[in-house]
C-alpha cells in the first residue's frame, strides 16, 4: 500500500489542504492532530473567493504556529459561493447547506478523494488517510465573514434561530432559555467574527473609488460589467433585508444573551470606505486596525497579525471562562 495512515506531531505539523466534495471551489485545511474540537469556517465577500480573500491565513497558521498554537488543533474550512449574482437570502441558504455538512458532525464523504483516473490502490488508501483527518464531531464552531460574507452569516444565523424557535414552540416549549436554543440548533453556539461586515449597507461611491485603486481591480471590472447585481441590490435598495436581520438579531440577542452567534466581534479598518461602518447593538466593543483597507483587514501577513489574533480571540475567551 502506498499511503499510510500514520499521524504526525512535532515541529513539522502542518494542515492538509483538500477540496470538498459537492462544494466546488471550497476547500479545507485539516489539522493532523488527533483530538480536534474546533472548526473555523471562512465566508468571503462580494467578488471575493475562498483563496484570495483570506490570503496568507492558509500558511501563517502553520508558519506562526509557535505564536498561535490554537490553530494547530483546528480545522479550517474556506467556503466559496457566488457572491455576485445570488441574493443574500439564497447565499445564506447555500451556506447553511454547506455548514450542515461540517458541523457538528462532518459528513464522512465530505473530502473529495476521488482519484479514479489513477491506477493502483491510491483511491482507497487516500480515502483511509483522509477519513482519519476528520473528527467524529466538532464541539466548537467559529464563523468568520468578510464584507457581504458577514451579512450572509448574520442572515444564516437569523434563519436557524427562527427555525429553532419554531421547533421549540411545536414541542410546547414557550418560555425557552438560551441553552435550549443551542441544544436544538448547535450553530447558535458558534462564535461570530466579522471583518468589515456590510451589516448596515454599502457606500457605492466609496466602493468604486476604493477598488479602482486597489489590486482587486477584477472586482471593479465586475461591477462595471453589470451595475445591478443581486447581492449588491440587497444592500443598497429599499428592500427590508438588512433592517429585518438587524432588528430581530438585536431583539433576540437581548432576550437570549448567551446565544453567542447573535453577538459578533467586529474588526474594522480605520480607512474603511466601502461599507457603512457600524455594528449591531449587542456586538462586542468596536475594534479598529490602522493603515489597512477594506480588502486588507482580513489578510494577515507576518507584519500584520491582527486577523490571526482576532479569529483566535473568541477561543481564548472561552478557555478563560472555563
Amino acid at each position: 500500500m502506498l499511503f499510510c495512515t500514520a499521524r504526525m506531531d512535532g515541529p513539522t505539523l502542518k494542515h492538509d489542504w483538500i477540496d470538498l466534495d459537492g462544494h466546488r471551489g471550497s476547500y479545507a485545511l485539516l489539522s493532523p492532530k488527533p483530538h480536534k474540537e474546533t472548526a473555523i469556517v471562512f465566508v468571503h465577500g462580494y467578488g471575493g473567493d475562498s483563496i484570495k480573500t483570506w490570503l496568507e491565513f492558509q500558511f501563517l497558521i502553520d508558519s506562526l504556529a509557535d505564536e498561535y498554537p490554537w490553530y494547530s488543533g483546528c480545522d479550517l474550512f474556506f467556503y466559496k459561493y457566488d457572491g455576485i449574482s445570488s441574493h443574500i437570502p439564497a447565499s445564506a441558504d447555500s451556506f447553511l447547506a454547506f455548514i450542515r455538512d461540517i458541523f457538528p458532525i462532518p459528513r464522512r464523504d465530505l473530502l473529495d478523494t476521488d482519484v479514479q483516473d489513477f491506477p493502483g490502490d491510491f483511491q482507497s488508501a487516500a480515502y483511509e488517510y483522509y477519513r482519519t483527518l476528520l473528527p467524529n464531531q466538532y464541539k466548537h464552531l467559529v464563523l468568520v465573514g468578510h464584507s457581504i460574507g458577514g451579512v450572509v452569516l448574520r442572515m444564516a444565523i437569523w434563519t436557524v434561530l427562527r427555525n429553532a424557535h419554531q421547533i421549540l414552540i411545536d414541542e410546547g416549549v414557550h418560555n425557552c432559555d438560551d441553552s435550549e436554543f443551542i441544544k436544538v440548533e448547535p450553530l447558535l453556539g458558534s462564535d461570530l467574527c466579522l471583518f468589515a461586515p456590510a451589516n448596515l449597507g454599502v457606500n457605492f461611491t466609496g466602493l468604486l473609488g476604493v477598488i479602482a485603486n486597489t489590486r482587486m481591480i477584477g472586482t471593479l471590472l465586475i461591477n462595471w460589467l453589470r451595475p445591478v447585481q443581486a447581492a449588491y441590490s440587497d444592500l443598497s435598495s429599499d428592500l427590508p433585508i438588512l433592517d429585518d436581520v438587524r432588528k430581530y438579531t438585536e431583539e433576540y440577542s437581548e432576550r437570549f444573551p448567551s446565544v453567542l452567534a447573535l453577538r459578533a466581534r467586529v474588526l474594522w479598518a480605520t480607512t474603511e470606505k466601502v461599507v457603512v461602518m457600524w455594528q449591531y447593538k449587542w456586538d462586542g466593543p468596536v475594534e479598529y486596525c490602522k493603515d489597512v483597507t477594506h480588502t486588507e483587514v482580513c489578510k494577515p501577513t507576518p507584519e500584520f497579525r491582527r486577523p490571526l489574533e482576532f479569529v483566535s480571540y473568541a477561543q481564548q475567551r472561552r478557555a478563560q471562562a472555563s
Partner: protein
C-alpha cells in the same frame, strides 16, 4: 525536514486529485474536440503537472517513493505530451522556458529517470517553505482548472494570427460590440474544461488572469518580507513556481503581450461606455487608456523575473 511520510503521501494524492487528474482529463477532452489550440493548451497543462511533481519532490512536499511509483505509472502519458510539443514548430515549444525543456529532455532522452537534471538551483531550507509552497500550489491549481483562464491562455499563446483576428470579433475594419453581460455570465458560470472558445470566455479569462497575476504578486511580495524565511529561498521559490506556470501567461512568446493588451483596449473602451450609460457616481473621469496602462504595468511586473540578488531587509 518535512519528515512525516504519511503526510507527504497525502500531499501526493492531492496533486493527483487536484492537478494531474484534471490535466489528464483535459487532454482526453481536447482530443475529442479536435481543436489544435485546445490540444496545445491541454498538453501544456499536462506537462505542467510533471514540473509541479518535480518541484514538489525536490521540496520534499511529495515523498520520493510515491513519486517514483507515479512516474513509472504515467511515464507514457507524459511522453505523449512531450512528443506533442517536440514535433511542433519553435513557436509552441518556446512557450516553455529553456530550463524546463532541458529538464524534460534530460528526463526522457538521457536517463529516463525522474531525478537526473542537475541544472537547478536548490533551496537552502526548503522545509521552511512547505506551507507557503502548498498555498501557491493551491492558487495555481485553481487558476489552472479555471475554464476561462484556459481559453485565454490558449488563444494568446497558441492561436494563429488568422484565428486570433477571427476571434477578436473584427468585421472588416470595424470592431463588433462586446456583450458585457455575456462576459459577466461567463465569469460566474465556470466549468472545468473549455468546450467552446467564445469571445465572452476570452474576455472573462482576461479578468481572471489579471486577478491571478495580482494575487500571485501579493503573495510573493509578502513572502519576501517574511523574516522567518531565507530571503534567497523566497526569491527562488517565486522563480521556480513562476517558471513552472509561466507558460500560461508568457508575454514574451509570439504576440501574447500584444494580444493581451488588445483585449485590455477592447474592454477599456466598452467599460467606459458602460460607465457613462449607467451614470456611475465616479469621482474621476474614466478613460479607456487607464486600463491598458494598468495592464501594461502589471505585465511588466509579472514578466520581470525576480533576480536572485539579496537586498537588505528593512
Amino acid at each position: 525536514m518535512h519528515s512525516n511520510e504519511g503526510h507527504k503521501q497525502a500531499n501526493c494524492l492531492k496533486f493527483l486529485r487536484s492537478y494531474f487528474a484534471p490535466a489528464k482529463r483535459a487532454v482526453e477532452a481536447a482530443n475529442k474536440l479536435g481543436s489544435k489550440d485546445t490540444s496545445s493548451q491541454a498538453h501544456g497543462s499536462f506537462l505542467e503537472s510533471f514540473w509541479w511533481l518535480y518541484l514538489g519532490l525536490e521540496m520534499e512536499y511529495f515523498p520520493a517513493s510515491a513519486g517514483i511509483l507515479f512516474w513509472s505509472e504515467t511515464r507514457k502519458d507524459f511522453l505523449r505530451s512531450f512528443n506533442y510539443f517536440a514535433k511542433r514548430k519553435y513557436r509552441t515549444v518556446s512557450a516553455f522556458t529553456d530550463s524546463l525543456w532541458l529538464r524534460l529532455q534530460s528526463t526522457f532522452k538521457v536517463s529516463n529517470n525522474l531525478f537526473t537534471f542537475d541544472g537547478d538551483m536548490h533551496f537552502l531550507d526548503g522545509s521552511a517553505l512547505i506551507s507557503q509552497f502548498q498555498t501557491i500550489f493551491m492558487i495555481e491549481c485553481h487558476f489552472a482548472r479555471d475554464c476561462n483562464a484556459q481559453i485565454l491562455s490558449s488563444v494568446i499563446t497558441f492561436s494563429s494570427p488568422r484565428e486570433w483576428n477571427k476571434l477578436r470579433i473584427r468585421k472588416g475594419r470595424k470592431r463588433r460590440q462586446i456583450s458585457l453581460t455575456a462576459v459577466r455570465d461567463a465569469l460566474i458560470a465556470n466549468g472545468e474544461f473549455p468546450n467552446r472558445i467564445g469571445e465572452e470566455r476570452v474576455y472573462a479569462g482576461f479578468f481572471r488572469a489579471l486577478e491571478h497575476m495580482m494575487t500571485y504578486q501579493y503573495f510573493f511580495d509578502s513572502l519576501r518580507r517574511n523574516p522567518t524565511v531565507q530571503e534567497r529561498d523566497a526569491y527562488l521559490l517565486e522563480r521556480r513556481c513562476k517558471e513552472v506556470s509561466n507558460w500560461r501567461l508568457n508575454f514574451y512568446i509570439g504576440d501574447a503581450k500584444e494580444r493581451f493588451l488588445e483585449l485590455a483596449e477592447d474592454l477599456g473602451a466598452e467599460l467606459v461606455k458602460e460607465v457613462k450609460v449607467q451614470k456611475f457616481p465616479l469621482e474621476y473621469e474614466p478613460n479607456s487608456r487607464d486600463l491598458t496602462k494598468y495592464v501594461e504595468g502589471l505585465i511588466d511586473r509579472w514578466s520581470n523575473t525576480q533576480p536572485l540578488v539579496l537586498s537588505a531587509r528593512g
